[in-house]
């Protein structure tokens, strides 16, 4: 038997073995995009153009309810992941459904807020502050929208094919995405809403 000093076989990678790290790098690049939007908002946060400012526009009670919705959706997604790890298909689907409801509540409240502001004449075209506000908060909302869409697709997948490894991998990616959006929201409610009203 001869000794080999190099690997003669090509590396074998499990299917999806690099998905986690790849998705994580995507999230980090998404984080950089949000950082740019946060920086833009930070620079323009005082440019009201004699229009309404945060004190006139923001309803902190509504923002608190919205924050609660997203936080609750985060923990229910966590429970879905725990059910998935135990192999309980129906429990996983149930928790994913509850997560979706909380996510849609968040979106509904945010759309209500946007609609209210635009009807008061405080739309994105009113001032640089409002342009930056709608871009930052709207981009986050758009992420939650696509996350919800992804959630629906995965619920159909799980319902049809069960908790196969591919679906487990997808659910793990969406869980990273969902928790990541909750973390971005911490930045939004702190820097945009709370610091604006102080």
């Amino acid at each position: 038997m001869s000794t080999t000093y190099w690997e003669t076989e090509p590396h074998h990678h499990e299917e999806g073995a690099s998905t986690n790290i790849g998705f994580w790098v995507y999230l980090m690049s998404d984080c950089l995009m949000f950082a740019v939007l946060f920086a833009t908002f930070g620079v323009l946060h005082g440019s009201y153009a004699a229009g309404p400012g945060p004190q006139d526009l923001f309803d902190l009670k509504l923002v608190a309810v919205n924050t609660a919705m997203l936080l609750l959706s985060s923990i229910t997604y966590g429970f879905a992941m725990l059910s998935m790890a135990q192999g309980h298909k129906s429990a996983t689907l149930r928790w994913l459904g509850i997560t979706l409801v909380f996510g849609l509540c968040f979106l509904g409240i945010e759309l209500y807020e946007f609609n209210h502001m635009i009807h008061e004449g405080a739309g994105p075209q009113r001032s640089a502050f409002l342009s930056a506000f709608f871009t930052l908060v709207g981009t986050h909302g758009l992420h939650v929208t696509f996350g919800s869409l992804w959630l629906v697709v995965l619920m159909v997948q799980v319902a049809q094919r069960g908790l196969i490894p591919a679906n487990q991998r997808r659910l793990l990616c969406l869980s990273l995405f969902w928790h990541f959006l909750d973390m971005i929201w911490i930045g939004v409610f702190t820097l945009v809403y709370l610091l604006g009203v102080i």
Partner: protein
């Protein structure tokens, strides 16, 4: 080929970690909201400091309890890429604010009419 499956180094956590994270998040959200709704401290900078401090702690809580981040996941690459991102984010946000603040004060003094000393107004 590694002996463990891909899920072993990316744990799903436990009820305990999720509940701990959730309760800490509720507290760390309630403190800044309650503080700002109640009008804040006398010292504005103290209020800002507490609000931002709570946010930073809550982000860390989310990373540990919800994302289950640790230095071992993906042989440390998750943590390394995160640290790199944090550095870039800090440079980008702090740098933008710093540069644009100076741009405003140096280039357009007449725009900040209220900030001018009394003797220079009008």
């Amino acid at each position: 080929m590694s002996a463990h499956s891909q899920h072993s180094d990316h744990g799903h956590g436990s009820y305990r970690s999720y509940l701990t994270g959730f309760l800490l998040s509720v507290v760390l959200t309630a403190i800044p909201f309650g503080l700002v709704m109640a009008g804040g401290f006398e010292n504005r900078f103290l209020t800002v400091g507490v609000v931002i401090g709570c946010a930073v702690i809550q982000v860390l809580v989310h990373m540990v309890c919800f994302l289950h981040m640790n230095s071992r996941a993906e042989e440390g690459w998750t943590l390394l890429s995160t640290l790199f991102t944090v550095i870039i984010v800090v440079i980008m946000i702090a740098g933008s604010l710093w540069v644009m603040f100076h741009l405003n004060t140096n280039m357009m003094p007449q725009m900040d009419h209220d900030l001018l000393p009394e003797r220079l107004r009008g």
